[in-house]
Symmetry: C2
Subunit: 686 residues, 2 copies
């Protein structure tokens, strides 16, 4: 059941797809307080209460004990006390012995979530602007509650099947030749690969929708050449458009009036990668259509996937901001510079990026109104994604495109996936990547993953290996790294064969993981879940922070610690452990409910399967297109006939019918062709 409560004058956000009448009276459970524009909701927490949700955010699966701020931020060097990441996902579930409900604040501005931070026994949620819809969702179970919420917000984005392949990316690839080398190094070493990302260096002066003619003399020919090798290109698109006189896009967009304006009606200009840029007003349909149309040359060149970046929007600085910084610095010059003024000096220039003053300098048109950006800041990236997805649907309505974005808001989950933003080559960010996944899934962002290996700083062989072992299971499996960091392609490392073997597991599992993903997406379910969703009565399971349920019957528990050759795992019920080393080399170990210490050498990682559930492996391969997904090895720890409804489709049709694509696999306990008692393996051709 969903109830909507309306506060102030909510602006359209495109987050929900159902219009509900507003309830009268106060929101139940909470004490509501209005102070000037701010509206806050206070609730007492019992020691047993657990909070799930908030999508892309730091800290644990249980969000309790921290203060988050919904404010889309370009903040690569985030640590555990970073309040805002690249996205704002205002859905939170309160789960305890005597309570189960979810809340969604459909608020495009800043929202503060003090979840047992100031006082461990109190949650206070505050809308800074006070114009929003508050949805209260109640169901009998966590899964049911999330499904109801997802019904409210619409079906998750469906990527094409090739988007489940391994993707290699690096900030710095600048030419056909460089990308060709990356492709060849993978193919010659039999490291599976489906796509290569093109970061900003493919463009002419970082200008959107251009590509360097000398480096990519014939992009269509090149993309065709790669496709023949079952590889795809995935270029980046940024939010800003160069404010360069004579640059066609700028002139055209200016003529159409699609860029954000300042209060005086002039265009808002800020520096990002190409230099001075204007910013499409994605909140206007006209601007979205115009922007979407710009993708056409790339689509015509055969591109089938994109990543949208810099769309918080990130702002390096404005002219006003730089002038103010220089003035501040100047005022301190020559004086006896003390500690305070040193901090001011440093701060003067440090603060010029993504500055709140700049976010107050420009406006959006919403209907007839002009709305200052900071009031709707968190919508920007989501509406850029919307512009892109709409364009792809217009250009080729019969094909799914790959699209993932850095910034997002609930609603964008219908149009694209997300990566988890710019992370670091840190073990703590590996753990954070895992812990962020269930929240993202709750909010509908099923197609997601982190920059494997870490974007910033230098990765080590062991860390990249453990990142890849998590990545085997994340729908988006992309190795990505930043300019000036250690080169991070698998083949750069002395232990590349171990890493290749890890990726082969992804390809053996790819049809199965795709099946699990599609079934979750088409039923408003979750691909990754906290254990609490399956075992709400198990007081141990509900607090597990480093294991996730995957699909219908699986659980993952990767190694997240440097130098570890094993880990503890809690099994809420009897399971089968598949300890993978490669697609063809794995152990099958039945383990009973309870705590286990599992040996996991650097090249080993486990997948757990509930009793009387099945996993299907194919023989693997080097690209998603060349996999034979009909020859399956079906594995289960079963004591009765067990079925698995295996989803298969063509991998690209946009509106698949679930029932039509399900193929029922059934095996019986007597199908035992292994020495491990109770484990059935069946070889099937379907």
């Amino acid at each position: 059941m969903i109830r909507r409560y309306s506060f102030g004058t909510p602006l359209p956000t495109d987050a929900v797809v159902c219009a509900l009448p507003a309830e009268k009276g106060d929101v139940p459970y909470f004490t509501t307080l209005r102070e000037n524009e701010r509206v806050s909701f206070t609730l007492s927490l019992s020691p047993e209460d657990i909070l799930f949700g908030l999508g892309e955010s730091v800290r644990g699966v249980n969000k309790r004990g921290f203060r988050f701020r919904s404010w889309n931020s370009d903040i690569p060097s985030h640590t555990e006390n970073t309040e805002s990441l690249y996205a704002s996902h205002n859905f939170l579930v309160f789960f305890g012995p005597s309570r189960l409900f979810g809340i969604y604040l459909d608020d495009p501005g800043a929202v503060i979530w003090d979840l047992g931070y100031t006082r461990s026994d109190t949650a206070v949620i505050t809308s800074e602007n006070g114009n929003f819809d508050f949805y209260l969702i109640e169901e009998d179970s966590l899964s049911g509650l999330v499904r109801t919420f997802r019904g409210l917000t619409g079906q998750s984005y469906l990527p094409p099947r090739w988007a489940f392949g391994y993707i290699q990316s690096r900030w710095g690839y600048a030419s056909e030749d460089e990308i060709r080398t990356v492709a060849e190094e993978h193919r010659s070493r039999h490291i599976p690969l489906d796509a290569v990302c093109m970061d900003i260096d493919y463009m002419v002066g970082f200008k959107n929708f251009t590509w360097k003619p000398e480096a990519f003399p014939d992009l269509k020919r090149f993309s065709t050449e790669l496709k023949q090798d079952h590889l795809r290109l995935v270029p980046i698109i940024d939010a800003g458009i160069p404010a360069e006189e004579g640059f066609a896009q700028y002139e055209e967009g200016k003529a159409e009036g699609v860029f954000c304006k300042k209060e005086d009606g002039s265009e808002f200009v800020a520096s990002v990668w190409p230099g001075w840029c204007v910013f499409p007003d994605f909140l206007q349909e006209k601007a979205r259509t115009w922007f979407g149309d710009q993708y056409r040359p790339l689509l015509e060149a055969g591109i089938e996937g994109f990543w949208n970046d810099m769309n918080e929007p990130a702002l390096f600085f404005t002219e006003e901001g730089v002038s103010e910084a220089f003035a501040r610095a100047e005022s301190l010059r020559g004086s006896h510079v003390d500690y305070e003024s040193m901090w001011q000096l440093k701060g003067s220039f440090n603060g010029i990026g993504n500055n709140m003053n700049d976010y107050r300098r420009f406006f959006h048109r919403i209907g007839d109104a002009s709305v200052r950006h900071d009031k709707v800041h968190n919508l920007y990236g989501a509406h850029m994604t919307r512009a892109s997805a709409d364009a792809f649907r217009r250009y080729d309505p019969d094909r799914r495109f790959l699209l993932f974005s850095r910034s997002s808001f609930i609603g964008a989950h219908r149009n694209g996936g997300v990566w988890q933003g710019d992370n670091f080559s840190w073990w703590s960010h590996l753990k954070m990547a895992l812990q962020m996944l269930p929240g993202l899934n709750m909010c509908g962002f099923l197609y997601s993953g982190c920059d494997l290996g870490g974007f910033g700083s230098n990765v080590t062989e062991d860390l990249l290996t453990r990142f890849l072992q998590l990545g085997v299971f994340t729908p988006l499996m992309r190795n990505h790294s930043a300019l000036h960091t250690r080169e991070q392609e698998i083949y750069r490392f002395s232990t590349w064969e171990m890493m290749r073997d890890t990726v082969t597991v992804r390809y053996a599992l790819l049809p199965f993981l795709y099946s699990e993903f599609m079934k979750a997406a088409l039923t408003d379910g979750m691909y990754f879940r906290p254990l609490a969703f399956d075992y709400p009565e198990d007081t141990r399971a509900v607090r597990v922070e480093d294991q996730l349920m995957l699909g219908e019957g699986c659980m993952i528990a990767p190694v997240l610690e440097q130098n570890a050759v094993g880990r503890y795992v809690y099994l809420p019920e009897d399971m089968l452990m598949i300890r993978f080393r490669s697609a063809s080399d794995y152990d099958l170990v039945p383990l009973d409910k309870g705590d286990h210490r599992i040996d996991l050498k650097l090249n080993e990682f486990p997948l757990f399967v509930k009793k009387n559930h099945l996993v299907a492996l194919c023989a693997g391969g080097e690209s998603s297109e060349t996999l034979d997904d009909r020859a399956l090895t079906v594995i289960g720890r079963i004591d009765r006939e067990t079925v698995y409804d295996y989803y298969r489709d063509d991998g690209f049709s946009p509106r698949p019918d679930l029932q039509q694509h399900l193929f029922r696999i059934s095996i019986k306990p007597e199908t035992v062709c292994t020495s491990t008692a109770g484990v059935a393996i069946s070889k099937l051709l379907i």
Copy 2:
């Protein structure tokens, strides 16, 4: 066995206390490479090799898989990829199935430790300057090896017994009244307390050895008043001396020629807290004596403990550095500022602190030579500590003083303790604090601890509680926080009673922990050890990263994760768990060798005791001086008569004789007065 190999022209560092003849030929095990000034040592690592040591440094107990740089740095916002912290402790042990040896690089300049970072199977250790002694230490056991190393470097500092009490600190306490309030809030709520730190605000304009006359009108009277309440004051002393004409210390030190000079012979001046400062050349005995004498007014006011800070030395900036930064900024003004120049702009002022150019601007006198600071950078803090400790010995040779420093080098462990530097209110820093302790102990820094609750950023109730639960066992148990962060004294929180109960456990254990500490210090042993030291043959134990051996027979395993109400613990042998809630409320749970999942609510924390070892608790109290340490409850899981040699002394005499102060406690299995089978409790009066 120790062998010394000499490279270049080593400078005196005061690190070792034994003169060994230099070996001829190459260092065994390593491949030595000389490149210009640099000397590097390369060694292959097997997958099983584990590396212990490096004292104050980030990452795990096992230092493998990262690159460290010995370079004392003022770096509060450190993360897992921070190469340098506040101290340089160049002692590392290689421990594997087929190797056991330690190396110590007595090198006062930068040393790079690539420990399986560039290649996971290779360690490369590089001295940047090439003037150092390389000690190779070999013994049959880890403990023996460390003891031999500690024999080379001399006996650890002995703090007074009151330094094992709980210490409250905060950057911001600025007056008698404020400190009195802190004291009263603790006393009135029966939160035990032994000392209050005075951070920089007690001084007049942050000038060393001064105090604000209006805020502390009679420091001696105030310190006497507090001592009557069994409380002591612990003021901070910084490294820099204000370069202020007419300021007595400056004039005097200038006349004596004790400050560091630039190449042209003029004094080196940089800004730190008081503004422009000069820096005593602590490498000269004359300067140390002069600086040490400055403590006299504070000693005469009854002060018995100090913390030395800012002694990397931290430099906010120099006039030259600021000019260069302004010039860089100016050169970018007006130009079309792009991304690169924005980074340069930010960097120009960001880089002005602790700048390498500044460290090259000044010199030390060593004998007749003038040595540029960067060649001996890592000695500075250690020699400040030496100056202080020598002064205390001169002033009152019959008393131990409390002294702990931010920056250090091996050798300083004979003169003082260390705190682990400026950390954050992060769960990851709680874990890092634990993991740093065994390395510090290996290097002789037994008196150590972190800023409990975290120095920077805002603590939460649960995080402070878990920090305190670690702090119960660290010799230095100090709650410290920074200006502008959440107030962090226990009494500020709604859950203060839970925190108070935690501190009561410290006081119940204080005589026992003091006994364990003194026995370790007086025998060149370790108070905290990796489990590998006790169970080198146990392949599980050697890799445990979140438990530590404590003293002769104990092990700690604190909860390090937010929202956790339990944790896994590995017991390498049968043990007794004491699950503490307060000094008088605890469970006794015998647990057998193996893996265990332990329930530990927020107010609970365990101490494990090996079978046939004993722990002694006193009744506790509110200060170390008012504890009755003769009435003991002795607890053990024993199956034979078991003895504990209990160390007791007056708590302040400087050269205690170990044997003279040992009191043998003996209990027998039949002394069972508990319902828990196999656990003996004996009430003793000694």
